[in-house]
């Protein structure tokens, strides 16, 4: 009886964690700090840019790349940069990228205006990119 209660408590805690993770995963949000990703990556500012951090063996990165391609194609005039986080670890660290995929939205001045951890939600990414295009 007690063991069943313990097991139920663990299940409840795990499912709560799962719900929290699901609600958070892929959300496109304002960055905690305004960073300048392009300067760190050695690119000039210019068109609105999506920077995707990928890693080796990252299945979700391929899904994210599909969303980026779709959104960039929809809007037009968008630059998409893909960065291997394992190769550019110091850049990932400087930008506070902790997981792959992570997608950054960068405006014309080269400043980060939004980011998403996980496969970004299409509608939210499109809205953020439209904001960065202005």
């Amino acid at each position: 009886m007690t063991r069943a209660a313990v097991l139920l408590a663990v299940v409840a805690a795990t499912l709560a964690l799962a719900a929290w993770w699901r609600a958070r995963n892929g959300r496109v949000r304002r960055p905690g700090a305004r960073t300048a990703p392009l300067a760190l990556l050695g690119h000039e500012p210019g068109p609105p840019t999506l920077v995707q951090f990928t890693g080796p063996d990252c299945a979700q990165c391929e899904v994210a790349a599909g969303v980026l391609e779709d959104v960039a194609g929809h809007l037009g005039g968008v630059r998409v940069l893909t960065v291997d986080a394992a190769e550019r670890l110091e850049v990932a660290e400087a930008l506070g990228v902790w997981r792959v995929p992570t997608v950054l939205v960068v405006d014309r001045s080269g400043a980060e205006t939004a980011r998403a951890g996980g496969v970004p939600r299409r509608g939210e990414l499109l809205a953020a990119l439209e904001g960065a295009s202005r």
């Binding site: 499912l15 993770w21 063996d57 902790w98």
Partner: protein, 154 residues
Amino acid sequence: VSAAGSPAGQVAGRLPQVDVRGPRFAAAVTALVIAVAFLLRAPWLVAVQALVFTVGAAAGLRAAPYGVLFRLVRDLAKLGPPRRTEPEAPPRFSQFMGAVMLAAALVAFAAGQATVAWVLALLAFAAALLNATTGFCVGCELFLLGQRLRRRPA
């Protein structure tokens, strides 16, 4: 864990791929096995699961017992070919982490520390349940962190 020889099983020039449903299925079975072990106070069942993790980590997901079971269920239930595949390495790394955790649990059982052992087993249970319900893969999320720690001088 897609069948060898299926077109999705191996993309030319790329790392081994598995059916995305395979690891989710395996995680669900894993959670069930550990839950039953806990309810029945059966350390031997924890040992069975530890062995399953070890085979998956050492021989790959295609040879892993729950991978074989998944293919059987897939064929019996006519689930059809995979919608998507994913690289094998991250879920295989998770099998390794599971093996380490349950090996530690078995050491605790042997040392008479049953409570410690069950806490370790329930942590593995929680990780498996999280994976089965959300696709969240602890091994995948920890990959970058691992790279970071490896590169950083002590």
